[in-house]
Amino acid sequence: MKLAARNTISFKEALNLCFLYASNRISKQAPAVVAMIAYLMIFQTLVLGMPLSQNFSIVVSSLLLILGLAFFLEGLNLGLMPLGETIGLRLPRKRSLSTVLILALVIGIVATFAEPSIAALKLAGSTVAYERAPLLYRLLNQDAWILVFSIALGVGAAVVVALLRFYRSWKLRSILYLVMPILISLTIAAKLHPQVQHLIGLAWDSGGVTTGPVTVPLVLALGIGVSRMVGKEHNQGFGIVTLASLFPIGFVLVAGFVLSSIDPGHSKLGLVPALSEFFTTSSLESASRLSSDFGTTLEKTLSLLTTAIQAVLPLCLLLLFALKFLIREKIKRRDEVFFGIFIAIIGMFLLSIGIQFGLSSLGTQVGKSLPVTWQSVSIEENSIEVKNFDHTIVQHSIDSKGTIKSFFLLEKDLGPQRIWFDPASYNASNKSYTYVPQIGPLLAQPWSGLALALFVFFLGYGATRAEPALITMGKKIEDLTAGTLKSKLLERNVAVGVGLGLVLGLLQNLYQFDFVVTITLVYAGIMILGAFSHNDFVDIAWDCAGVTTGPITVPLVIALGLGLGTQNDIVEGFGMLSLASSMPILLVLVQGLIARSLVRNKL
């Protein structure tokens, strides 16, 4: 007897439900984004006193960013993650271990090719000059395919090892104690190599950058599924993101050594010119193309839509293929899954527009203005051309040492203003004088350094709070710990960690600390703390590190790094991202140790 007939609700009720659903999802994302944008705008205009251009575009893009985040996260929850989890659960039951591992390898490689984040590395290395670091230049330009393949293989191998870990019940800690010394040794060896040493920052950043907003939730869901199916211990599916962040470091450094030994002269043409040509016209160019003035807004928008589809669809198709042909099962709640994939693409598209035209543009402006805190900066966009400049209005002044300075009075809104006269700005042919206003230094040392550190900290904190992969991961961790580890608390701790990591990166950038020493010390601290921590916390802490460097944080950090790097005449601006992802591990481990000591005291 069927008692439960299909529920019917009126159109008005349905609309009401949809409105509540949408408003709930949007209102969850709005605070983090609004706070981030407002913070950057206030800092640029009120603190630095610099002009802000493209205001309307930034505001509209921010709204799109909020919508994009809401759509994307809902798409992940409805479509991508259940799909990944189903495959993780079913595949080990139906297929042999070797099939599972082959699929894992393919997923890792496809994820790297699909995610647009690698383009960010290219953008970060846009200031690299061939003459100063030929190997790095080649890996970012002509031999970019080697970089992409190394990272893809690294991620693929990481997914394989992580799944094998669930089958064999290996502890993540044991793998880390094996992998980290290898990575540190490779880094030290690279440091001693005249060319490969320039790759160190790139290699360490590549790991974090490649684990993007689509890959992370998908592989996490896959891992949770597999671990639930085959895990012999209380394995919870964590660790894939960690290994996917670490393995590419080694693979990129090894690629550097190999490339250096094959072609010690580092020809500017690249190792295989045909491949170089293909890759310079492919997606890898998207970052630089988007950052330049190339193309109209429509072209850029279409390019972002392609990138969004490219980021989501190949991975989903691969998983659907696995479900259909390897597992031979129908998708449960098919309508929900397809709707989820669709809104994830829409979300990714809106998110990319919001980042490209809003957050990134704002970040670049702030990044360029930052040096005003410790040095004087010219504001080109506020320059004034004085026509028919009459030399007789130039007056002179003398100080106690006898130094003569020239100036004239320029009529402005608030009355005449004294302007120092620079003969180089006078154009005798058309009798015009170009006045470029200057601003700064706003603060003397050490206050400028402190102000900068505070800015960078809150920048990292704010950007991380809006990271979609972290939000997804936080919710998963909350689920798996039955709410003991609240997602909000975890997000906050990770965000504080990223903030501190960026401050460390800033200090390293400003005071030119040795990156190898800094990263070795940080990871040594992490390993020591890890030795005293519970396995679950080690897994969670390390995975959090991988998700911090996502689509919101990366453009801002890159803009910041480029701004600082240009001022400090640094060969390359890499390294900041890896430091930003390392500090959250420390903080989450400390959080775990505190929680553990409280329980121990009680028992």
Binding site: M1, L3, T481, A482, G483, T484, V599, K602
Partner: protein, 373 residues
């Protein structure tokens, strides 16, 4: 299917005590047991000199695990005593032990008749477990459990155990529009003295608004014996012993909770009680949705599911005896029990290894007016 009246022994304990419990279970030859992660909530004292406007008591969550297994009544006492002594559950803050009678329909025998009991363990003559308790189970939308936990702790009942689950109900019949109604639920379990249960339920219904649509339900299951976790507050104490320790000592001395009295005169609402049963089934992961639909087509108003682990010690160690299952429970009118159980057992989704558990519900706050779950 084997039908039996068995004793269900549940142990909710701090994560650190898990290995000890597993050892005890192995000693007694308990080959099949289930478990899931949960959190135990307590109130933690903060001096907060830097923020005097904030409340000094905050909710503190502790990682916990909930284990349960089925055994025959004769062996239950000895196992209870052993768990109690090995895990030190008399000391508050370490965990809860509960035993109740349930009817179990299972595809396999859940209790091996081994001889270990006579060799190693003999039931102690003095039973340290308390009688006269019931278990209240509240199911609320996700994110609302902390409100309920605060009320429970404020009432000084015991430390509640919370965990996540999913609701299956009318939302599944709405097509794609179902995504607009959150299916995520939080379950909260806590132990109360039976004579206080009605009054405590009333208080919770009023405070949590269970009398409004979609706010949640609460129901009461009888317990045979139990040891509640009465550590409600942690942190600084003003006296040599906390109030919870005093209550514990009194309960132990009196052997029951009947000496406790509470003033509920302010409450006016009447609780609507019906003759209900709590019907639960444990099935392979991914099958609960279809089985819930079968139950709902036969009169179940809705179901709540949570994921749990299943350990089968008799399985081949090379394959691994630990797999994930889904535990679904539904409160249904007693008159519908037969048709639902019959439909479930005939269902094509019912695979080998499914366990159907039936327990009587003492009272139920069933306020499902306009409820879409």
């Amino acid at each position: 299917m084997i039908a039996a009246n068995l004793k269900k022994l549940s142990v909710d304990l701090s994560k650190g005590l898990e290995p000890k419990l597993i050892e005890v279970l192995k000693d007694f030859g308990i080959e099949h047991y289930f478990y899931h992660s949960a959190r135990t909530s307590r109130l933690r004292f903060h001096s907060r000199w830097y923020a005097p406007w904030k409340q000094p008591w905050s909710l503190y969550d502790e990682v916990a695990s909930s284990f349960w297994f089925y055994t025959n009544s004769e062996r239950a006492s000895a196992i209870e005593q052993k768990i109690l002594s090995e895990l030190g559950l008399e000391k508050s803050g370490r965990g809860t032990l509960k035993s109740s009678f349930v009817d179990v329909l299972s595809a396999f025998s859940l209790d091996r008749n081994n001889q270990m009991l006579s060799v190693n363990q003999k039931a102690s003559s003095k039973d340290a477990l308390l009688v006269g308790f019931s278990e209240l189970i509240g199911i609320v939308p996700r994110g609302k459990a902390d409100v309920l936990n605060r009320i429970i702790l404020g009432l000084g009942v015991c430390a509640p155990l919370s965990y996540y689950g999913m609701g299956n109900g009318k939302r599944d019949q709405l097509g794609l529009l179902r995504i607009t109604i959150p299916a995520e639920k939080e379950m909260v379990k806590f132990i109360v003295p039976t004579h206080d249960a009605q009054a405590i339920t009333k208080t919770i219904v009023e405070e949590c608004g269970f009398d409004r649509a979609n706010q949640g339900i609460i129901y009461q299951l009888p317990l045979n014996k139990c040891v509640p976790d009465s550590l409600i507050r942690i942190g600084q104490h003003e006296h040599a012993a906390s109030m919870e320790q005093v209550i514990n000592a009194m309960d132990s001395l009196k052997g029951s909770t009947l000496w406790r009295t509470r003033d509920y005169r302010r409450q006016s609402k009447r609780i609507k009680t019906e003759t209900q049963i709590c019907l639960s089934f444990i099935c392979d992961e991914g099958s609960s949705g279809a089985l819930s639909q079968v139950a709902m087509q036969n009169g179940a108003p809705g179901a709540s599911t949570f994921r749990c682990g299943y350990q089968n010690l008799s399985a081949d160690p090379s394959i691994g005896g630990e797999i994930t299952k889904e535990f679904t429970s539904m409160v249904v009118p007693e008159s519908r029990q037969e048709s639902i159980v019959s439909a479930l057992t005939k269902s094509e989704y019912l695979l080998a290894g499914v366990i159907v558990e039936i327990a009587k519900v003492n009272s139920l706050e069933l306020l499902r007016k306009n409820r879409i779950e």
